[in-house]
Symmetry: C2
Subunit: 674 residues, 2 copies
């Protein structure tokens, strides 16, 4: 007996099906003059169909459809082509799905600029050439590699790259650090790094520009070899390393831990990309680039959130060694959703959870199905959502267990695994949470490097870094016309009415409405009102503006200073919360191109607020930043634990209802004496 009905209109937000990906791919291949390849080993100098994704409908069209006032919007795909032959990148809209008949170049419309080919993500095709290039380089230095790292026919080093790839626009010069070929390579640096210039789309023009060996720099391979042979180099002498990165259990199970079970049947239901749970319903999707997202989130059939989505995961590292010194990861440029792999039952989510497959097309020759990459389950939080015991009068007890619906993906982006949770509570709150786990990034410990972190293994430095995560929160509180309100307290010296000569400091409520985008861009390190609300000007039964409050849980470090050229590509991270007037063309706070053209980012979030538009009575979006400062320590080996390493946003009703909606939950328990 579900309380809500499924609605097929949720498909307006559904990711492309396998068939749709194939049709779009085929359509692009019919455009012979574009000379596009879909081969996974397409060279950088050729034209490569990198990405096919759902192109989100215009909000007005989607709303009209959802609300029964308009037709189903034409379904469109976004296609990204890396034109190595021409030296640029193009984005197209291809439509109508499932059988496209036309395409439109939307690059300028979306980014107001051309996209140079150096802005592209490194493809499997390019990696293939990088590996070959490195093999070639390594083949000339067998002795050093053998003596230092035991490299041989059966033992290759593994690599980890610095990003951004250089210091200015157009650069594609990557410091590649090398790691032992063991479990958890990321914590096995060997002390050898190579700066590869792969700016040209022609691999034949690539070259080694510098090498770092045991803390010493060399201009060329030959330079290193000569000095090594002459004894001018402090040698690293190979010795076997313990397998400290292994995740193999070191003890046999005693007995299984506590498990979740559903006494009767599941109290939620999934149909297509639509979920219903108690009073909640929502549509979901998984963007290959930005990751998990939900749309048209309703409570009791009333839309509260139009879109809640992951936008970006960014980290800035510190080190003395070049591989980590400049590193600033912008994960949506590699693809966050792309790495939503299969979830492991009983570990990543409870055994009893529901698992959903996803399909994607990013840097592949054909659409990929990823089995069980989303999990959905109702969880007992093990604590009451509310309760009261009364013994002073009306002796009685009322309460209810906090059971909530969890919607989860986990994205293993190289070393790190981010766990993304959207949680739907029976009290009308929605929470977005992120936790980090997996391997830290590390560097070889050389003199002076302890300023940048802590030693976590023999000759291994865990590098200090920030985690900044951006969420898009498009609340629609009773429609599109909303206000941004703040509430806080202040002590006011007040005369006591019954003894007017006596004064006391009494807390008062302070309410404000922020009226422009710049007023509402709440910088880190500034005092911020404690309550932040997206409010309607409709009132609840008690005359208060119906609103949802944004409660942010964050342990972020410092954002990169604005003086740095790379900062504009992550300018969303300046703000705890920023409120913008919503636009279809301001869909994301970052972009696929921000990592590799970080100095001239295709999306600079600060431009969304530069025009300082009014945010009164407008369709508002809150861009919320959370995260944590990570100073790695021994307990990050082998893996960072989720406990304490995360952040989140809670969206809570605040005078939205006339009373707590959980009072209507069938989970309520009441005990009266006798």
């Amino acid at each position: 007996p579900l309380r809500r009905k499924h609605d097929k209109r949720s498909l307006v937000f559904a990711d492309l099906t396998r068939e749709e990906y194939l049709q779009v791919q085929q359509y692009m291949l019919t455009l012979k003059d574009l000379d596009i390849s879909t081969n996974s080993l397409t060279k950088p100098s050729e034209n490569f169909l990198f990405l096919i994704e759902l192109s989100l409908p215009k909000k007005a069209d989607a709303l009209a459809y959802l609300d029964g006032k308009g037709a189903n919007p034409i379904r469109e795909a976004t296609v990204v082509v890396f034109y190595g032959a021409q030296g640029y990148i193009k984005e197209y809209v291809v439509a109508p799905l499932p059988y496209p008949t036309y395409h439109r170049d939307v690059t300028m419309e979306r980014y107001k600029t051309e996209l140079p080919i150096t802005a592209r993500t490194v493809t499997i095709g390019e990696y293939d050439l990088v590996f070959k290039f490195l093999d070639e380089v390594f083949s000339k230095m067998g002795k050093i590699l053998k003596e230092s790292f035991d490299v041989g026919p059966n033992n290759k080093l593994q690599m980890f790259e610095q990003m951004p790839r250089g210091v200015r626009s157009g650069d594609r010069k990557t410091w590649i650090s090398f790691f032992r070929n063991m479990s958890g390579i990321y914590i096995h640096p060997v002390g050898f790094e190579v700066l590869v210039n792969h700016q040209s789309v022609n691999a034949s023009a690539w070259r080694v520009e510098r090498l770092l060996y045991n803390g010493q720099y060399f201009d060329t391979v030959k330079d290193l070899q000569d000095k090594y042979d002459k004894g001018f180099v402090k040698k690293i002498v190979y010795k076997q390393s313990p397998d400290y990165g292994s995740l193999k259990p070191r003890n046999k199970p005693l007995q299984i831990g506590p498990q979740l079970f559903y006494g009767e049947f599941k109290r939620y239901s999934i149909s297509n990309n639509h979920v219903v749970y108690m009073d909640w319903s929502f549509a979901f999707g998984l963007s290959s680039l930005t990751g998990m997202r939900v749309f048209d989130v309703r409570f009791n059939d009333e839309r509260i959130v139009y879109e809640l989505s992951v936008q970006e995961a960014m980290s800035v590292y510190g080190s003395l060694t070049p591989g980590m010194m400049l590193t600033k990861f912008l994960d949506s440029s590699i693809g966050i959703g792309r790495f939503a792999h299969e979830l492991v039952r009983g570990v990543d989510c409870p055994h009893e959870a529901s698992y959903v497959d996803t399909y994607r097309y990013i840097d592949v020759p054909a659409p990929v199905r990823v089995r069980n990459s989303i999990c959905i389950f109702e969880h007992s939080m093990g604590q009451p959502l509310r309760r009261h015991f009364s013994d002073f009068s009306h002796t009685s007890y009322g309460g209810m267990m906090n059971s909530a619906l969890v919607f989860r993906t986990i994205t293993a982006i190289g070393n790190y695994d981010y766990m993304w949770d959207f949680i739907f509570y029976q009290s009308g709150s929605v929470e977005a949470k992120v936790h980090a786990t997996g391997y830290i990034a590390s560097s070889y410990l050389v003199d002076g490097n302890l300023k940048y972190g802590h030693q976590v293994a023999d000759k291994v430095l865990g590098n200090i870094h920030t985690h900044f995560i951006n969420f898009k929160v498009d609340l629609d509180v009773l429609g599109l016309n909303n206000y941004f309100q703040t509430k806080d307290m202040e002590y006011v010296n007040t005369s006591l009415p019954w003894m007017p000569d006596h004064y006391a400091m009494v807390p008062q409520l302070v309410e404000k409405q922020l009226k422009t985008e710049q007023e509402a861009a709440l910088h880190h390190d500034t005092k911020t009102p404690r309550y932040l609300h997206i409010a309607s000007n409709k009132t609840n039964r008690w005359g208060h503006q119906r609103s949802y409050r944004l409660q942010v849980l964050s342990f972020t470090g410092d954002n990169l200073p604005e003086s740095q050229a790379e900062e504009r590509a992550m300018s969303w991270a300046r703000y705890k919360v920023a409120i913008t007037k919503r636009k279809d063309l301001e869909q994301t706070s970052s972009s696929l191109y921000n990592q590799n053209n970080i100095w001239t980012p295709a999306v600079d979030f600060s431009k969304y607020i530069a025009d300082n538009e009014s945010i009164e009575n407008e369709d508002l979006v809150a861009w919320v930043t959370t995260g944590f400062l990570h100073i790695p320590h021994a307990e990050d080996i082998p893996n960072t634990v989720t406990v304490g390493n995360g952040g989140g946003i809670l969206l809570r009703p605040h005078n939205y209802f006339d009373e707590d909606p959980s009072i209507h939950s069938a989970d309520g328990v009441y005990i009266a004496p006798g």
Copy 2:
């Protein structure tokens, strides 16, 4: 197959047994010259045995015993007697238990001052007289009460008191607000408040000093009556109120929610007051005054925490009406643990949890057993504690579900229910969490009162208030000799070694050691280093000081300005974290007497740091404050929900171990291809 063994030495921290309470009570009654009564209706003018509690052993003695270097310390009780006949309060140590033979007045030793009788908590004996006094007052105003509130033989009003009771030391003048006799009286104010002076221990001297009716003040009952009869009063005309405070479910259960179950048997064990769980062991107790506490918390047999305990729960309210205008609740003066009532299976804790009875003696004629007032269970958090999926190299998966032990009490202190959790994680972290639920306090809505909150029901204002919670964290990191360290990041403009003319802002680690109590008293509203550590000067395998980090999760409002006379009684709330050199005589940050003699508090925490002692290489205690600003809203009716309304502290190993100890957990899962 438990990993740890129980240890009876935990009994050194055990609450008194029923027999011990009885023996102490009996011993006190043998002291005829003290003329003490244990009758529950003992008058304020008589001498009343208010409290019997465990007197904690001196730490040095307890440690010697626990570590096999000393005898079992003599077991002692603290006894509090309210000497109404003499006008003071005395605290005694009575020993040895279980059969006391001597007592010692420790009042001066503990508080450095005499305790005036006006500092006492209102007892059941005093309430009995207050009720009679009010009956007497009300009997003279039957008409007003009938017409305004339908008061009659079968319908009495309920009361809720203002605290502190006045504006200066010695005052005992309480504004009593009246509420409808319905479920959740706290949200049913009628608009009638009476200022009762009950300063004298002789109830015959008590009098009404002022009345408030519908926003209008009156000097005497007669004054109100005269003006009421003459029509000079804006009358409240009784009308029946809907039962919006009821917690009765409004819907029938659909089906039961998800449940926790233990596949095999429980992986923890409780013996006496000792718990073992995986690598953890600890002793526990429940103070009638301060609430839940654990001692001698060990991981892998190594003591990490000597004491982790709740200290105080404080709230400051704002209102235009006197009942809430000056209100500052200091719950440990009423007794936090005192209100740890029976927990409801399946709502307050999972069905499968273990439940423990407690015994106490506070404002009672005989010891009271409270059944199932502590629950202990292992919970599956529904998410991995750690995990990594690798597909780039060494394709494999390793992870483990986050199963942790929860130790919980819930204390329903009048309107509010605080849920207290100590959580023990397999990664070596301990978390202390508090959440608030139950009823908000409210006042009658009169003109001008909306400055102090939001309307939440007909004629009802939910008053703005703060929640400040203090925890004592006596970490002993590898013994008593510890340091207080901070860590944070800073951007440093750095020349790139491989292109020295290019500079970049690179994050560096900033470590400091704070050396005195005043340096280490971290005020709210000041920028605080992001990582706070209690460190040993012993190093881990990688040469770093072994430490535990305190990660505080807090949403507090503003503390009362220090200009206010009442502030010294809550001076712990000035600080997010304050570190003191530990002393047996600085056992708590508040006291039983702070509420009713708030202007001359028996314990002023700020004095602990006034002597500005060195905190280098000393036994340190961290006093940690958390909480949240509460601006009540319609969804607080009928009950505040726990989601988002809380705070906590996470104690995390940071270079304490050489690697994450959870790697040794038998819950680890590893999957390799093929």
